[in-house]
Symmetry: C2
Subunit: 276 residues, 2 copies
DNA sequence: CTTGCTAGG
DNA sequence: CCTAACAAG
């Protein structure tokens, strides 16, 4: 169970961010996503795979007290990202300036003024899956190359960022139950994992979850086939990737495996908001 | 509740025939179709809209004690008819020799030797719906014209027939709850009802159900929209159409509204088997 | 509103 | 195995 923010000494200065691939916002709403969110103490929620069109995105998907922003794919019922926030948003940007990031609703970014001297960007990213074949893997690989350039630019520009989302890549052995059996599976390919190494080791981004949690068996996605989730045969592919200004401000991280309204679990990270 | 055949003085000489549009045999199986059939005392069952391919038609759809014959459409998951019989079948014919009757699995006929001096043909017919637009209505009308010729031929040949099925046409005012509101609806169009008049009045076929039941409010299909079935806002569009040799042998007819494994109800008719 | 197909995951 | 679109009813 995730603690209430009120357990912190100064809970007003803790930012709780949730990342969740909802696998269809309409389906996850029926399964209690918004009931869970109401009790989660979340400040900002980054959703992926919303699979909802603007005209279907009715009031029941916009609970009172939340600022809600949707970036749908052009294709109905496919992909899409959203950001929900209890805190005021200064501005919202959608897309990354290249093909499928923009046409498939794979990136939405909210900019906040938390009064800490720098604008904070919190983004929801839905990286393509490569599992449906060679063509899909090729499109994923192109996305990775294009997106790496943007990540580098943000670092060069000294942006403060927390990019939550479904990266569809496990990083290390600890991040997947069946390591040896998945070496040739999309999402666990050596060149994909090397891409994450590059982001962290060379560009200096931080895996917020691993910054404070080093235990194995903490996954964020389980196949729907068989009893994968019950047996915890999972993959950790949902991350909070942040710039190094957050390094010493990560005060807690959880994956909420029992929140079962999707094939993914919510990944929750608490960040301390303060001027150093 | 439909009586057991054992309530008849000589139940061995009563033939119980069931017509049921199953709206997907796989779905209706899950909802208890075969449990109901096991207690129905049926001898022959004519199914329409089976929506199952031969390779999907596994053992669970072939209960022991039944002879089972499927005539699927070429298109997967679409239309299709079947005949199930506890009594031995002499031969089975599929199709009517014209286009969509044959390619869409809309007619299957079993021939029986009941030892009454003449072969008896029991058929399952699934007449096209015209409700999806003008093109569909035009195809239905062509079917009606082609099929009328065949019905005439069977009469000329003095065949003994019981053609069960979903005719997708109400006959008279008594056969539909909302008569005035459906005068322009496919299935209740004047020319369609006139076609049924022709079959009965000019070709001499008999509506087995109406031969023994004259009450209103006995329907065989209800829309899935709203609470149509609960409110009994229905249509009688499923018939047993038989040749006049059966006229004095119809001993009971029921529509089993509470058997809810489809948007249609089973229509059950008992026929006395005897040499006059 | 429902079945089943298909694409996508 | 799950979601959602689609065609058909």
């Amino acid at each position: 169970m995730i603690p209430k923010k009120s357990t912190y000494a100064d809970d007003k200065k803790v930012l709780r961010v949730v990342s969740i691939n909802v696998n269809g916002l309409r389906a996850s709403e029926k399964k209690g996503l918004f009931d869970w969110l109401a009790t989660s103490d979340a400040d900002v929620v980054c959703m992926q795979e919303t699979r909802i069109n603007p005209e279907q995105w009715t009031d029941k998907f916009k609970p009172t007290g939340w600022h809600t922003h949707l970036f749908p794919a052009q294709k109905a019922g496919y992909a899409g990202t959203a950001i929900y926030s209890r805190l005021p948003i200064k501005s919202v940007k959608t897309g990354l300036g290249f093909d499928i990031a923009d046409t498939q609703g794979r990136f939405i970014c909210a900019t906040f003024d938390f009064g800490i001297g720098i604008d904070v960007n919190i983004a929801s990213l839905y990286l393509p899956s490569g599992s449906s074949g060679d063509d899909a893997q090729a499109r994923k690989d192109v996305f990775l190359q294009e997106y790496a350039k943007i990540l580098k630019q943000w670092r060069d520009d000294n942006q403060s960022m927390i990019i939550c989302g479904d990266y569809n890549i496990v990083h290390k052995r600890i991040d997947i139950k069946n390591w040896s059996g998945n070496q040739k599976a999309s999402g666990c390919l050596p060149h994909e994992r090397a891409w994450l190494d590059h982001i962290y080791d060379e560009l200096g981004y931080i895996d917020s979850f691993r910054a404070v949690r080093d235990e194995p068996f903490l996954y964020s996605w389980w196949s729907n086939r068989g009893q994968a989730r019950a047996k915890n045969v999972g993959w950790r592919i949902d991350y909070h990737v942040c710039t190094p200004d957050w390094q010493d401000k990560i005060v807690g991280a959880w994956v909420y495996k029992d929140a079962w309204f999707s094939d993914h679990a919510p990944v929750v990270v608490d960040y301390r908001l303060s001027i150093d």
